[in-house]
Amino acid sequence: MGLGGRWLTAASGAVVRLPGSSPELGEDATFAAAPGIADALYSALVESGFGKV
């Protein structure tokens, strides 16, 4: 997972994707997650239709 930006949340070790960086989640999606669940959560969100709202 590429990072759209690294900031306060990212500085603490989180995986962060900012708007425009993850089309599967939607062009205006913001996503931040602990690295241990980031991939699984990303997939679950895509499967749940998060990117099509």
Binding site: A32, A33, A34, S48, F50, V53
Partner: protein, 217 residues
């Protein structure tokens, strides 16, 4: 080498001053308010006063540097731009729920390099500077060590438009069976800070403005 830490000090000082103003104004500010994108998207006199204070202070301390604010607008330029959310979580502010913030970030060529998220109701200050870590009142922050999605606590938010909100609700209903639980607290900047502190394992939302994530995201 560029050192962003002095910019954190400026964001913190101005954020604290704006936060104090926001607190003083609460009783009067919530009596009369306007709406923006929808009837549920509110702006109070305190939002406007807070942004004006931040803009004035930045013009004094950092003359000539452009400001992008939620209420008065602006653009992000090459070089340094200040990004301001004068009250993030205005609906919480309106209802007296203490989960709202003043968020001020410095972005260099569109990337955040320094910022502060101030909680007016508690006085807590979340800060970060690129290359120097993230802190809550000076204590270093660390994201949670969870590795099991089914045991994770997920924060989320809603857009303002009703039709999009319905689709989002369908998504969160589907996600509710895949995680420990969901939390919708109502201030994106602080929700992102909560991920930084391990108080949430993750956060996801659509339609945030740059001012929502510039200091927290």
């Amino acid at each position: 080498m560029f050192d962003p830490r002095p910019l954190v000090d400026i964001a913190t000082a101005i954020g604290r001053e704006a936060g104090a103003l926001v607190q003083r104004m609460r009783a009067s500010a919530v009596v009369s308010f306007d709406t923006k994108s929808t009837s549920t998207d509110v702006v109070t006199a305190a939002d406007r006063a807070s942004e004006q204070l931040v803009r004035t202070r930045l013009s004094e301390l950092r003359p000539g540097e452009p400001v992008l604010g939620e209420e008065e607008g602006g653009t992000v330029v090459e070089g340094l731009t200040w990004v301001v959310d004068p009250i993030d979580g205005t609906v919480n502010y309106l209802y007296g729920i203490p989960w709202y913030s003043v968020s001020i970030a410095a972005q260099l060529d569109g990337e955040s390099v320094a910022g502060a998220v101030v909680e007016p109701a508690t006085g807590r200050v979340w800060t970060a500077a690129r290359g120097y870590g993230a802190f809550l009142d000076g204590t270093p922050l660390h994201v949670s060590a969870t590795t099991d999605l089914s045991l994770s606590l997920l924060g989320y938010g809603f857009a303002y438009r009703p039709e999009r909100r319905q689709r989002q609700a369908d998504t969160w209903a589907a996600m509710a069976t895949r995680v420990r639980d969901l939390r919708r607290a109502g201030a994106a900047s602080l929700d992102l800070c909560s991920v930084a502190a391990g108080r949430l394992d993750a956060y996801a939302e659509h339609a945030l403005g740059r001012w929502d994530w510039a200091a927290g995201g």
